[in-house]
């Protein structure tokens, strides 16, 4: 096993141990916030797939989450469905909407794609979820109430129980996304990000894979939305405000949108920083300012993102400790391949 793999495994196990043990010793309120972190981590993970792997920018991940949340809300709160069945439908429905958004996005990239996703977000936020448009979905002026489900007979009513469940959900999703990343899927998606023309010239169906990535990303966001609904105990439109989508995209960028670890780090910052700010004279209202500030700092000093930068620095330190070989120069490469 090489050093990188060992280092990664140790980090993952240590992080999971901390994530399981530490919340046992905090108050119920913070346990609830911990479950929000785990759910938001799934939402940031959805950005890792679409932005990190395929390079497609999205400012409407909260809209996909909203589809998940309101599907669960209206089915459980309005039609008394089982939560689990509603969650499955929610994920499927958000995937379908993700693919539909993906179709016009196929021919767009960069700024124009960003504008399209902003338009989608505003359409949801200002129209679809507004009272009077589709009340049987959005709940109109009365927020849907969603009770905590039980998981194979284990009640998830307690804050720690729900936290443990959401942490497990994030861990499973992160594992699945990691498997995609190290397999054919990861290679194909990164190739498409590199050059769509070159990818199609070697037989890759760019359209199909991009739509699949949109569907997968939106499905993950929908899952996060459904879990958010059960966590809070209900759904109402303001929690899916457009600005949340911007914030989450900004934080994912700050942390480094290609890395799964940054999904966890981004979600942690998204909940912990406003919480810390409320205990200072500057209040959580200044959180967006904080996000903007660190975004500028990151873009200047660590354009690859904070988490990948940290990993690089650590690897560098370890390599120096062992007198690791410097990288090969161009001449050495030429010498290597010329017989």
């Amino acid at each position: 096993m090489n050093d990188n793999v060992r280092l990664r495994r140790i980090t993952v196990v240590a992080a999971l141990a901390v994530a399981i043990v530490v919340p046992l010793f905090i108050s119920n309120f913070y346990q609830f916030e911990a479950s929000e972190i785990a759910v938001l981590a799934i939402l940031v993970l959805s950005l890792v797939v679409i932005t990190g792997y395929v390079g497609q920018i999205s400012f409407c991940q909260y809209s996909f989450a909203a589809i998940g949340a309101f599907t669960v809300g209206s089915l459980v709160g309005g039609h008394h469905w089982s939560f689990w069945l509603a969650l499955v439908v929610a994920v499927a429905f958000s995937s379908v909407v993700g693919i539909l958004v993906g179709i016009p996005a196929l021919r767009l990239s960069g700024l124009f794609l960003a504008i399209l996703t902003v338009a989608v977000a505003l359409f949801f936020d200002r129209f679809l979820l507004a009272a009077g448009t589709w009340d049987s979905f959005s709940g109109g002026l009365n927020p849907w109430r969603v009770g905590r489900p039980s998981f194979f007979g284990i009640g998830l009513d307690g804050p720690y129980a729900y936290y443990a469940f959401t942490l497990g959900a994030f861990a499973v999703m992160a594992w699945l996304v990691w498997n995609l990343r190290i397999g054919k899927t990861g290679r194909v998606l990164r190739a498409i990000r590199g050059s769509e023309i070159a990818a199609s010239m070697i037989g890759i169906d760019v359209t199909l894979w991009k739509l699949a990535a949109f569907g997968l990303s939106a499905g993950l966001a929908g899952l996060a939305g459904g879990l958010l609904a059960a966590g809070v105990g209900g759904v109402s439109p303001p929690s899916f405000d457009f600005l949340h989508s911007i914030q989450i995209a900004a934080l994912a960028t700050v942390m480094g949108v290609e890395s799964i670890a940054s999904a966890a780090a981004g979600a942690l910052a998204l909940v912990a920083v406003p919480e810390i700010l409320t205990h200072t004279p500057i209040s959580a209202d200044y959180f967006p300012l904080f996000v903007g500030g660190v975004l500028i700092v990151q873009l200047v000093f660590a354009p690859q993102g904070a988490v990948p930068k940290m990993v690089e620095d650590i690897k560098h330190l370890l390599a120096r400790g062992r007198h690791g070989e410097p990288d090969a120069t161009t001449d050495e490469i030429s010498a290597k391949v010329t017989v």
Binding site: K184, T185, R187, G194, S195, A198, S200, T207, V337
Partner: protein
């Protein structure tokens, strides 16, 4: 029997005629040269064959299939491989990953088998890995599999791109100025490699290059384009002495 047939293909971009009524046939096993001054329409023709641009009129037949309506990836799967004038390697990925991708494109595995690490996924992963390594070995690129494509010198990048195209196991390989950016020694190596590739894989090749010495040396048949039209066609010896070709290249009246 011909592998690729171009029948009266024209491509127009707005008012510009990039290709007008171009016709030729590439026989199986042939190394076919396509030459002409800058702007003669060579790259446009490659784009028409690979599906990047749609011909305004005309038909393109490959391996007895009419391919004019097919999307680029379908044509690649039928067996049309390509290298680019301006290199199109996936720069942030390793050499090995670049070469595994054409094998991946054919593999029967997708999101689900990858996500759950189904046996099929690891089987296909091994197969792609082996095919990529075999091709690296064939083109004498062993030892650089783990390096990022962007970190390689241009000459090596060209060879890696050739290796990637061959990993598709193409019946027809389109080479768009494969010698550009190469030094004399590397060009000589390329001239040796092309017949070797044909011998090993039976690949038919359509070669565009400005290096006339290279084209004359490796090609069995040459077609000359000028201002989007075919002005001459034949074996290297005939082309060499064709007054129309000399005129197109030198731009003066030849007695």
């Amino acid at each position: 029997m011909s592998l690729l047939e171009i029948h009266g293909v024209s491509v127009r971009f707005g008012g510009v005629r990039a290709l007008s009524d171009v016709s030729f046939r590439v026989n199986r096993g042939e190394i076919f040269g396509l030459v002409g001054p800058n702007g003669a329409g060579k790259t446009t023709l490659f784009n028409a064959v690979t599906g990047v641009v749609r011909p305004t009129t005309g038909r393109i037949t490959f391996d007895e299939h009419e391919i004019g309506h097919l999307k680029p990836h379908k044509r690649a799967r039928l067996g049309i491989g390509r290298t680019f004038q301006n290199l199109q390697l996936f720069g942030a990925m390793t050499v090995l990953e670049n070469l595994m991708l054409p094998v991946d494109a054919f593999a029967r595995r997708g999101l689900v088998s990858d996500a759950f690490r189904l046996p099929m996924a690891s089987f296909e992963e091994r197969r792609a890995n082996e095919r990529a390594r075999a091709m690296l070995h064939f083109l004498r690129l062993d030892g650089i599999d783990g390096l990022r494509a962007n970190d390689l010198p241009v000459g090596i990048q060209r060879r890696v791109e050739l290796a990637r195209a061959l990993c598709l196991r193409p019946k027809l390989l389109l080479l768009d100025e494969p010698a550009s950016g190469l030094d004399a020694r590397e060009t000589a190596e390329l001239a040796e490699a092309l017949p070797m590739i044909r011998e090993r894989f039976g690949t038919t090749m359509l070669l565009v290059d400005h290096d006339m010495a290279l084209v004359m040396r490796v090609c069995d048949h040459i077609t000359v384009l000028d201002f989007g039209e075919v002005i001459s066609s034949g074996p290297p010896d005939v082309i060499r002495s064709d007054p129309r070709v000399i005129k197109a290249y030198l731009g003066e009246e030849v007695a």
